[in-house]
Amino acid sequence: MRNFVRFLFRRHDVQIGLIVVIMAACFSTISSGFLTPGNLMDMLESYSVMAIMAAGLLVVLISGGIDISFAAIAAVSQFLVAIILVRFGGNWFVAFSLAGLFGALLGVVNALLIYYLGAISVIVTISTMTFYFSILMFVTQGKSIYNLPNWFTSDISVLAIPFPVVVAAIALLLTLFLVSRLTIGRQIYGLGGNPEAAKRMGCNIVGLQCFVYGYSGFMAAVAGIVQAHRVEEVVPYALIGRELDVLAAVVLGGASLSGGVGTVSGTVLGIVLLAVLQNGLTLLGVSSYSFGVVTGIVILVSVSATAYAAKRQRKRSIRDAI
C-alpha cells in the first residue's frame, strides 16, 4: 500500500493533478466566483483553442521533434478558409475539411524539409513559421476579415456544452486513441525513444514524420477555425505568440523535449493548470500583465523539478554501478 502511494506520487500527472486541486481549492476559498459552473465552463471554453493545438503538438513531441510553426499554420489556414467561406459560402463540414487539408499540407512541408535536409526540427519550423506568417501579413496587409457568415459566428452548443469545448474534447480523444491504441501511435513513441532502433526495425521514418507534422498542422488549423468562430473575426496576427504557451502546457504535462515521452492526460492537466492559474488570478483582480510572470515561474519550477529528479536518479544509478 505504501509502495502504491509512493508510486502514485512519483507519477508526473498525479503531481500536476494535485497542484491543480490545491490551487483550485485556494482560489475557491478566496473568491466565491471561482468554483461556479458558469466560470468553469467559461474557463474550458476559452482554453479549448489551446487544447486543440496542444493535442497536435503533443504527437510531434512524442516523436522526438518539435513544431514551432503551428500557430502560423493555424493563422494561414484560418485566413484561407475565411476567404472561401465569405466568397462561396459553405458549412461546418467544408470549413473543417478545408482547414484540415491546408494545415496538414503545411505540416507535411515541415516534415519533408526536416527529413530531406536533415535539419533539426526547431530550426526548420521557426523558419517556416516566419515564412508562413510573413506571407500571410504581406498578402493581407494586416487587414482583418469581419464579414464572416452568420452560421459561422453564431453560438452553438451541444447538450449545453459550448461548441469549442466539444471540438477540443474530440481532438483530445482522437489523439488519445492515436497514441495509445493505433500501431502508428506506438511507432511514433518508438521513433521518439530511439530513432536509430526505429530505423533498424524497419519503420517508415519519412512516413511517420509526415504523419506527425501533418497531424500537428491539421489540429492547428482546426483550432484556427474554432478561434475564428469564438471571436467572430479573422485577425491575421491573433494567434501568433501562442506557440510558446501551448508548448509550455504540453511540457508542463510531462512530455519530454527529447522525445518518446508524453500523454494526453498529462497534456490536459498541463492546460488545466495554466487555465486555473490565470483564471484565478483574474478573479483575484490581479493585472493580466502579471500572467506571464506567474506562468513563467510555474513552468520553470515544474520543468526544473522534473530535470532535477532525473539528475538525482542518474546520480543514484552511478553510485549503484560503483
Binding site: S180, T183, I184, R186, Q187, G193, E196, A197, C203
Partner: protein
Amino acid sequence: MMVPRELAEHDQPEPTPAFVEMLGISKRFSGVQALRNVSFTIRSAEIHCLAGENGCGKSTLIKILAGVYAPDEGTIILNQQAHSHLSPAASQRAGVQIIYQDLSLFPNLSVAENILFRRHLAMPSRLVRRAEIVKQAREVMARLGVNLPVEEVVGRLPIATRQLVAICRVLAAEARLVVMDEPTASLTHHEIDALLETVRGLKAHRIATVFVSHKLEEVMRIAERVTVLRDGSKVGTYPASEINRYRLTELMTGQKFETSLKPAFSSKTPPILEVRGLTRRGHYEEVDFLLRPGEILGIIGRLGSGRTELALSLFGMNPPDAGEVLIGGKPARLPTNRAAIRHGIGYVSEDRLSLGLVMPQSIADNIVISVLKKLTGVLGLIDGGRRRKSVNHWIDELHVKTRAPDRPVQELSGGNQQRVVLAKWLATDPRILILDSPTVGVDVGAKVGIYQIIDALAARGIAIIFITDEVEEVLHQTNRILVMLSRRITATLDPGKVTERELREAISA
C-alpha cells in the same frame, strides 16, 4: 613463451549443414579495401566467434550478411539459394537477426512492446492489442526460460536484462541466426555467465549464434568454431578447442607477444605513498599498503570489490572516514581532486570516454587541459608557443598517431585516445599515477601499446597503481599484486609465485 601448434584449416568436413555460406566476399569503400576474398560459413545451430581487431572488417562482413551493404564480389548462399547480395528484408526473412552493441531497444516502451515491436509494423493490424502482446511476450520468454517484468519500461532495467529483452526480440522474429556485436562489453562476470547460458538455450532451439568481438575470453568458453579476420582478409576458421588466448592474439594481430613476467622489483628508495588503515564505511575497510617510486602495484578485484572507491579516495573524490595517507613521508589530506593533483597524483578513469577526455575538442586541448596554469604568460593568457611545444612533446613521446593535433580526439582510435589520456596526466608531471582498468575495451594490439607506455612511465620513476580485473594482465604487468575482495585487501602476492588459477580463486572466493 608458449609455442603454438600450427592448426589446420577446418572448413572442409561439415558435420551439420551450412545455414549460410558467404563465398569470396570483397568490398571496397572509397579506396579502402575493407574485405578481400573472405569466405565465412555458419552452420545451423552452431556457436561461432568472429574475431579480429578493430577495423579488420568484422562489421563490414556482418553488414553484408544483414543486407546493409552489397559486396563488390562474392556469393552468399542462404537456404540453398545463391545471391550476389541481400536486401535487409530478404536477410531478415531468412532469419538473420543482428543484436547491435547498443541493443537498439526503445527505452520508453515496455518489455513486452519491445519484444513484439515488429507487430506494430505488420500491415493488417492497425489496432494495438495489448493483452495479446503481453501474452506472446510471455510465450517468447518461456521459450528462452527467462522471466522478465513484461510491463516494466526498458529504460529502467539494468543493462544485462536489456540484453535479454533484445534476445527475446530476435526470438520473437523467428530468428535462425543471431549475430551479437560485442555482447560482453558492458557486463560483469556473473552476467556474462548468464548470457552464455542463454545462448546455449538458443542452440537448443536450433538457432545459430555468431559472437562478433575483439575480446573473446568469455565467449570462447562455449564457442564451437572461431573465424579470425585481419586487415580485411580471413586468417582462418578453427575449432575452438584448438585455440587459446595466446594463439588467438597472434592470429588477430599477426605478431607474437612476449608474456614473460616482470623482473622482481627491488628498490631502497623510501615509499612515495603510504596508506594506513584507510576506511570508508560501505566502500572499503582497513586498507594498508606502500608504494615506491618506479613500482607498478596491481590491485585486482571485481566490480563492487571496492577497488574503484579506493582509487577515487586516493584521488580526492571519495573522502575516507578513517586512516591516513602519507605522500613522500608526510601526512596528506586529499579532500578534493585538485588537492590530489597538487600532491602529484594522477588518475586515468575506467570510462575514458566520458570522464577522461573532452571528445569533441582537439587532441592538443585535451593534452594541456589540466596544466593550463603552467602555460600562461603575461596577463594570465595562454602562451601559444609553450602550448605547442608541450603538445608536440607529448605526441612524440607517446607515439600518438595523428595527422594534426588540432583534430578532435573522437577521431582517434581507442588505443590512441588512451595515449592522449596518459599524455594529459604526464603533462601534470605526476609522482603517482592511478590507472583504473586502462585496457577495458581496447583491442589486443593497442593493449600491448598501453603496457609499453606503463612500463615507460614506471621507468621514469613514476609510481603506478594499476587497477584491473584481468588475472593475466595483473600477473604480467605488475611488480606486486594486492587482491581486493568484499571491500578489503585480502592478500598481497608476488606475481612470480602465484599461478593464474590461484589468483582467479583469490578474487572470487
